[in-house]
Amino acid sequence: MLSGIDRVKVMHVIWRIAVILFGIFTCLLTTGCWDAKEIQDRNFVLVAAIDDADIVEKSESEKQKAQTETFVQKHGTKEYMLSLQILKIAKSDGKGGTQAKNTFVISDTGKPMFEMVRDMLGQSSKSIFFEHLEAIVISEAAVKKSGLRPILDFFRRDPEMRSRTKIFITPGEAKAIAEFSPPTGEPGGLYLNGLVRNHKKNIHVGGAKTDVGFITQGMDNNTDYAIPRLNYIDKVPKLGGMALFKNDILMGYTDEYITRGLKFIYGTEKSAVITIKCPKHLEQEIVYELFKHDTKLTPHIEGDNIYFTLDITMQGNIGEINCAAEHDIHDVQFLHSIEEAIAQEVSKNAQDCWVFQQDLGVDIPNAKGRFKAYHPFEWKKIKDRWDEIYPTIPLIVSVNVSVRGTGEHD
């Protein structure tokens, strides 16, 4: 009897030990993810640059190199050249300090982006990872080839991609921008991303609603959209103006003046500067620094006539006065004349931008969507004739400017 009880107890103990051992071994064997990949085992892509494969200028050695950077293709043509700027995870040798290049570029030619990316693994010892993609630079020639949609499809479809990745259109070669190493020593992708992030202070750069997510929304909603233009000449990148797209087709560029008008309509700048002629010395200039800006673009119908009103409210400071002669900036009349001059400048700029868009046949502020939203029943009557009606719609601008400060020194 006693031996029987002991046997049961012993079995219990053995069973408990077995369960504990099983638990310990399970924990040891399954610690972490079995398919985990360390950071140093990935190649982080910071910039994707897309060029027209036929137009990129090549020397003889570059032509030979280009023949290596491709693959035998059964379907399609070699339409695009995709270049990826990849971050060097390994520490640089330190000789160059911050000047040492911390990125490198690999390229491939083909048509589907995904196929080129996978073929690039032939040039990369580690997997190519897009989760930290900072910028996509597309050359004008590549966009003109068959529109933006086929180029961006991979970046919109793949789960690894992010919506807030910045896009640029360059009139020149995109690969050269991917190869650019900024003087600050930071990786090129971060530098490009930072350029757009300054758009709230730079009235010549349109950076709001221009990333992959918003361009995707534009494509889905069949609305027109704008992408920042990035010039690159003599190893100097300069952001300014925008590329305007209608139905995926590049329609043209805006210069800095029209871009400014577009931003007045959108109301996306937060600390921009507006320059006007001094009301007392017309050859001199006064700079107004904006710090608050609200806009409202509203469609109206009066009988058979459609028109839009744009109400702008601005608050800011006097940032700079170029005049050699001194002004009494506490003079209320003088301040009012400045406010009036700014209002006129803004109004004219917005009007010019509106007409520019109408002439080009693009509708970046989404007048179509606003009309549909505010007047859905009238929209149903005119939706088929919208493209004819849109260029004839006038914009009535009302600007209310107030100077809230005159700077640190009189």
Partner: protein
């Protein structure tokens, strides 16, 4: 320490919480595209109407269950209407619960396969998830209830993360405010079977609840109201954030909207991963409730002593169907099949049963009076 295994009953508020917490699952993620493709920017209105309609279905089920307070659907239907009819109804009932479990497994596994564990085979994830569900269902109801009560805290956390979508809100995406697409809104309601998942389990769980001062209809009603408000506000935020056309164009619009959020100045990024992680316990609750209702219903129907006996019976079926529908066409076909079966059960079978039960009880009362 409280012996949870002994606890086989729950209060009426706990009953309301259990039924409600099983409604919101990862099933709604792929279905949102369908709802918005029909209802467009009025998805919020479609969700509000769906909340009312699906609560009506739940209310009818509660009324049916209340006619037989100590019995489950598998017990009273065969007794009242004969074995053949009773078996057919019970078969539809277990099919509805199986559909919810399979849909939960596939939607959650697809989600994690795409966004979290892209190197892990789909089959492995299905298996792991099912094992976790089975382990919980093997417990007594008291333990399961406590697990649900703990995991339900994931729901507010999930919603807090989801609410970050408001950062991208654009009022223009919701205009015009007056609906001109009523047919689309009504068609959107049909797809809400994925939004209000598994409430049918109350037909088995009702006898486990103690009736109190507050009626079951009211506790479940409060739950439905909360969930419907979550859906309505969620639909406004989602469509306002990424526009109706984009929601209709992406297979996982909620995840897509979360991917669009940037919190400048914070170290938190890849916010969609947090949201997906919170979807795991939330969906797990629904799977556990449906699985328990399934096996408990079978136990009562076949008069067995232990619900555990039936757990292995359904496991291979759930596993193989979940694996089989891992192609877009099969997944869609199964989604539509499941949707129609659930609608048929909730809006055809249950009202007919309730009508027949009332008529039968009415006759009995008349016969008593005549005597």
């Amino acid at each position: 320490m409280a012996n949870l295994e002994r606890k086989s009953k729950m209060s009426n508020w706990q009953f309301g919480m259990v039924i409600t917490s099983g409604l919101l699952t990862a099933r709604l993620l792929p279905t949102t595209s369908y709802v918005v493709s029909y209802a467009e920017q009025f998805a919020w209105f479609s969700s509000a109407l769906a909340g009312l309609i699906f609560y009506l279905a739940a209310y009818l089920m509660i009324r049916l269950g209340e006619q037989f307070p100590r019995e489950t659907i598998g017990e009273y239907i065969p007794r009242l209407f004969g074995n053949k009819f009773g078996s057919a109804v019970f078969l539809i009932f277990i099919t509805v619960l199986l559909i919810n479990i399979i849909n939960c497994v596939t939607s959650l596994t697809k989600l994690t396969t795409i966004f979290l564990f892209d190197q892990t085979p789909y089959v492995v994830l299905v298996l792991m998830l099912l094992l976790a569900v089975v382990y919980c269902v093997m417990q007594e109801w008291g333990t399961i209830l406590r697990v649900i009560q703990i995991l339900v805290f994931a729901l507010p956390l999930l919603y807090i993360f989801y609410s970050l979508i408001w950062l991208n809100f654009e009022p223009l995406n919701l205009l015009p405010l007056w609906p001109d697409n009523f047919i689309g809104i009504l068609r959107g309601i049909v797809f809400h079977t994925a939004y209000y998942a598994g409430y049918e389990s109350l037909l088995v769980l009702l006898p486990l609840a103690r009736s109190g001062e507050v009626s079951f209809a009211r506790t479940v009603g409060w739950g439905f109201l909360i969930i419907t408000l979550i859906y309505v506000i969620g639909a406004v935020a989602l469509v306002g954030g990424i526009s109706a056309q984009t929601v209709a164009s992406v297979p996982q619009p909620v995840v897509y909207a979360m991917k669009s959020i940037e919190l400048p100045g914070t170290f938190i990024e890849r916010l969609e991963n947090y949201m997906i992680m919170f979807f795991v316990p939330v969906t797990y609750i629904s799977m556990v409730i449906s699985y328990f209702a399934l096996v408990e219903g079978c136990r009562k129907y076949l008069k067995y002593n232990d619900h555990r006996t039936f757990i292995p019976v359904f496991l291979p079926l759930i596993f193989f169907v979940s694996i089989f529908i891992d192609t877009p066409q099969r997944y869609d076909a199964f989604r539509y099949f499941g949707m129609y079966v659930v609608l048929f059960f909730s809006f055809v079978v249950i009202p007919i049963l309730l009508f027949l039960v009332w008529r039968k009880k009415g006759r009995k009362k008349n016969a008593k009076r005549n005597r």
